[in-house]
């Protein structure tokens, strides 16, 4: 499962909407609730992002399913807030996190990757004077999004390997190979980019 979702071709109003508006939706759904930190606005943003996602008609699983690791994270975060007697924050933190993922999916499920890069490159063009290379930043963000499922895949492989050797309870045996493989994958991606002449100044 891809946490942020992959582009699904379609003809809904969100597919046709300009990518700039979708970035604005993303900001409007996620930033105010972070600043307010109140349960009702957070729940409202979650419901709105859910309704918008439903309107993309990409299928319930692609739109709403969350990986099990995220459920564990939500349980830990909410449990901590409840333990310190802040049930309001348990709602706020959990709802905001899921809203951020759903709002990101609004963008990624309805917009091809290269269009996202184009929009970022256009938005960053004014910062060229400050030494920012818009093409490079756009490419870096696209690769970052692509790397999330790659890392999850690596974690799953390492867990299986550790379990096969009866060492799945040893945190060191899990973390070390994940880090080593992640660095190896980053180097391979760098070589692939260089081989294609991408990201070179």
């Amino acid at each position: 499962m891809n946490l942020f979702g992959l582009y699904v071709p379609g003809g809904t109003w969100l597919h046709r909407l300009g990518v700039g508006w979708k970035y604005l939706f993303l900001l409007a759904l996620t930033v105010p609730v972070l600043l307010l930190a109140l349960p009702w606005p957070s729940l409202a943003a979650l419901v709105v992002s859910g309704l918008l996602l439903a309107s993309t008609r990409v299928g319930a699983r692609l739109a709403f399913a969350l990986p099990w690791a995220l459920w564990v994270l939500l349980a830990v975060l909410a449990g901590y807030q409840l333990a310190i007697e802040r049930p309001d924050l348990a709602v706020v933190v959990s709802a905001n996190l899921v809203t951020a993922i759903y709002a990101s999916r609004l963008l990624t499920l309805t917009t091809p990757g290269p269009v996202l890069i184009d929009a970022l490159v256009a938005a960053l063009r004014p910062f060229r004077r400050l030494g920012v290379n818009p093409e490079r930043v756009g490419l870096a963000i696209a690769i970052m999004v692509r790397s999330v499922p790659m890392l999850l895949d690596t974690v799953a492989q390492v867990r299986q390997a550790a379990r096969a050797r009866g060492r799945d309870r040893n945190l060191f045996a899990l973390v070390t190979p994940v880090v080593v493989r992640a660095v190896g994958q980053a180097q391979a991606t760098g070589a692939a980019l260089a081989a294609r002449g991408l990201g070179e100044s």
Partner: protein
């Protein structure tokens, strides 16, 4: 035309800590002009180092590598426009999430208009029988499909030379044949490293690499024969 010249191209890793200087490729002088060239040799023999020299992913410690007259050390960017590189593991090579996105990425420097770029990417994928997977995650593709997408992405940049580092190693027989047919049909000069001796036998010229040295260089029958004698005694 690719030339490894000067006093002989050498690649070495400098001494570090207790490790001594390690020579990955001993002084080598070569001129690669044939349309299909295969490089064979054991794991760790220096095949990948030799191939990576050809598009500047590895730079010579001594000597010069020239591709159509361009120096890989000083004109690396221009060289990489001429030389497309196909890696063993296509997942390492596909940098975007779907085949269409990845091919489109290769087209970015060539086609400015976004919808035209998308249309060309889809057309290129359709040309390789990959239209049905254009918008799928690269993780959901078979090994052969991934390698064909990687090849399509490389070819989208319109290189004059294709270098492929063991492109069929991770594939089953059917997928291997698909990739093999795709490589055979290319108009470009192809230099590939392989453990598949049948694939090497189809080349115009075969180089055998052992311990960072070119052990044999010639027609497939004689070079493969030399390799088999080396391995089996």
């Amino acid at each position: 035309m690719i030339r490894l010249d000067g006093a002989g191209v050498t690649v070495s890793l400098p001494a570090s800590g207790q490790a001594r200087t390690r020579v990955l490729l001993h002084p080598t002088t070569l001129e690669l002009a044939e349309r299909r060239i295969a490089v064979i040799g054991a794991n760790g023999s220096g095949k990948s180092t030799l191939l990576r020299l050809l598009n500047g992913l590895v730079l010579p410690s001594v000597g010069q590598v020239r591709v159509h007259g361009l120096d890989t050390a000083r004109q690396g960017r221009e060289v990489r426009k001429l030389v497309g590189f196909v890696f063993t593991d296509p997942l390492a090579q596909l940098v975007l999430a779907t085949p269409a996105d990845d091919v489109e990425l290769s087209l970015r420097p060539l086609v400015r208009d976004r919808s035209e770029r998308r249309a060309q990417a889809l057309q290129l994928l359709a040309g390789r029988g990959l239209a049905h997977v254009a918008d799928q995650s690269v993780y959901d593709l078979s090994g052969g499909e991934r390698q064909l997408v990687a090849l399509t992405s490389v070819l989208a940049a319109r290189p004059r030379i294709v270098v492929a580092d063991e492109p069929t190693t991770l594939l089953d027989l059917r997928n291997r044949d698909q990739v093999r047919d795709a490589l055979a049909a290319l108009e470009q000069q192809v230099v590939l490293a392989t453990h598949d001796l049948d694939l090497a036998a189809e080349a115009d010229r075969v180089l055998v690499v052992d311990g960072g040295r070119i052990l044999a260089d010639g027609k497939p029958a004689e070079a493969i024969g030399a390799y088999l004698r080396l391995v089996r005694g």
